[in-house]
């Protein structure tokens, strides 16, 4: 094995179910329902997935949801804004914990 991540492995996702088909079938059934058109459009869901894929830094998901976003008609501009949202929340989540730093600082400082 040259690398943990190989693009061709993405197509083997379903094979993960070999150890427990029932659980995998339940997962895919739920997964497919999640991404179906609903109160949110399929394109909006693909863009959310793309943003989350970047937040969790999953190469498989980034590959899959870049393709899915394109197939749902998203533009590069929309996809870029989506990952900025992910990046902003990640960055903001770090920064907002500064209040904890401030709390500790204030407790310890004269």
């Amino acid at each position: 094995m040259d690398t943990y991540y190989n693009p061709s492995d993405l197509a083997k996702f379903a094979e993960v179910g070999e150890g427990n088909k029932e659980l995998m079938n339940k997962f895919f059934s739920w997964y497919n329902a999640v991404f179906a058109e609903g109160a949110l459009s399929e394109r909006e869901k693909a863009l959310i997935a793309l943003a989350v894929a970047h937040a969790v830094q999953c190469p498989y998901c980034i590959d899959a949801y870049t393709q899915e976003s394109l197939s749902k008609g998203a533009t590069l501009e929309q996809m870029t804004e989506a990952i900025h949202v992910a990046a902003a929340i990640r960055g903001g989540a770090s920064l907002v914990h500064g209040v904890q730093m401030k709390n500790v600082y204030q407790k310890l400082s004269m």
Binding site: S41, S71, K72, G73, T75
Partner: protein
């Protein structure tokens, strides 16, 4: 203004030979033959259901050279239909009740007998659709085409791969988007694309890359909203068409390393409902030299109608062609993937 890039033929590219394309489609990957997969529809073989569309490709000459063009059309192409072959088309058409004639190219308007042919088809009482690349409507000697189309009630179908200028120009050439918008405004001014005018103007979306088109009706809403807001232009319907691995799109797939993934995607998204409704079942495609094909893609791969059906317009036999068995190769997966694809957009 430089609209055109290069054709495979002008580059002496190996893929300018249709047989080289067929060889790649058939042998480069080990995929189930389309004819076998088609059986998932519940039908044993793909057979025509009766010709409703008489699609005439009047030549490969074009003022553009779009990156995805399956025809490998361009300014250097010299293969155009003669008036004599057009007469054979009219003779054949007159003996049938086929209601629609779809004129394509290249830029069909660049055939010097285009207007004569349109008038003759209309004189036979048939509906005429033409596939116009829009920029030709601004070229010297062609500026009065919108009025000609309106006068003869010609349905106009035009490619606009995206409402984003940069995406359209990427696929179709520099300045194509802005010139297309100018041409659409001229068509709109005559009533084209306006409800109640009776003048039909439809747009075509092709993905700008190695992926499938989005949901047609959702995309049509986006196009209508954005084109109206940004440019105050209107159209009737949007056709979302899948790029088939033929001609320059095949070359792009191979050169960009996307061929295997794209073909695998087409196969994995095989949709029996779309496969049952493929357009070759109700279409006959006529090449610039009068040879007959099941569709324009087969025409560019030089796969003539087979299984005993007459292969040239001079031998046109409506009854035999109406029930002919369709010639399929692996590119056919493109019309049957996802929501399906035809010259009239999504199928399923």
């Amino acid at each position: 203004m430089a609209l055109a890039s290069k054709t495979l033929l002008s580059l002496r590219h190996p893929l300018s030979d249709a047989s080289a394309q067929v060889e790649i489609l058939e042998n480069k990957l080990n995929l189930m033959p389309f004819a076998e997969r088609f059986k998932e529809t519940g039908e044993e073989e793909l057979v025509a259901t009766g010709i409703e569309i008489f699609q005439v490709n009047v030549g490969k000459l074009c003022n553009q050279a779009c990156k995805h063009c399956h025809v490998d059309a361009g300014p250097d192409r010299r293969e155009i239909m003669s008036q004599e072959t057009m007469r054979l088309c009219l003779d054949a058409l007159a003996k049938t009740a086929i209601p629609k004639v779809d004129i394509t190219g290249g830029a069909p308007e660049m055939n010097p007998n285009f207007r004569w042919f349109v008038k003759e088809v209309k004189a036979l009482g048939r509906h005429v659709m033409t596939r116009s690349n829009l920029t030709i409507l601004l070229a010297n000697g062609f500026e009065d085409l919108p009025e000609f189309f309106a006068e003869h009630q010609v349905e106009v179908i035009s490619s606009l791969p995206h409402y984003s200028p940069s995406l359209t120009d990427k696929q179709r050439g520099e300045d194509v988007f802005s010139r297309s918008i100018e041409a659409i405004k001229r068509l709109n001014a005559l009533g084209y694309g306006k409800e109640g005018s009776g003048l039909i103007f439809n747009l075509v979306h092709n993905p700008v890359g190695a992926f499938l088109p989005p949901n047609q009706s959702a995309l049509e809403k986006d196009y209508k909203r954005e084109l109206s807001k940004r440019y105050e232009i209107a159209f009737n319907r949007l056709y979302a068409i899948t790029n088939l691995p033929v001609g320059r799109f095949l070359e792009y797939l191979l050169a960009s390393g996307n061929y295997e993934a794209y073909m695998t995607k087409l196969v994995s998204q095989f949709n029996p409902v779309a496969a049952k409704g493929v357009m070759c079942r109700n279409t006959i495609s006529i090449g610039w030299d009068g040879y007959l094909y099941d569709c324009d893609f087969n025409q560019m791969l030089e796969l003539k109608v087979g299984y005993g059906a007459p292969t040239h317009i001079k031998d046109f036999d409506w009854e035999k062609l109406n029930r002919r068995k369709i010639v399929t190769r692996q590119h056919c997966y493109g019309c049957a993937a996802g929501a399906g694809s035809s010259c009239g957009g999504a199928i399923a």
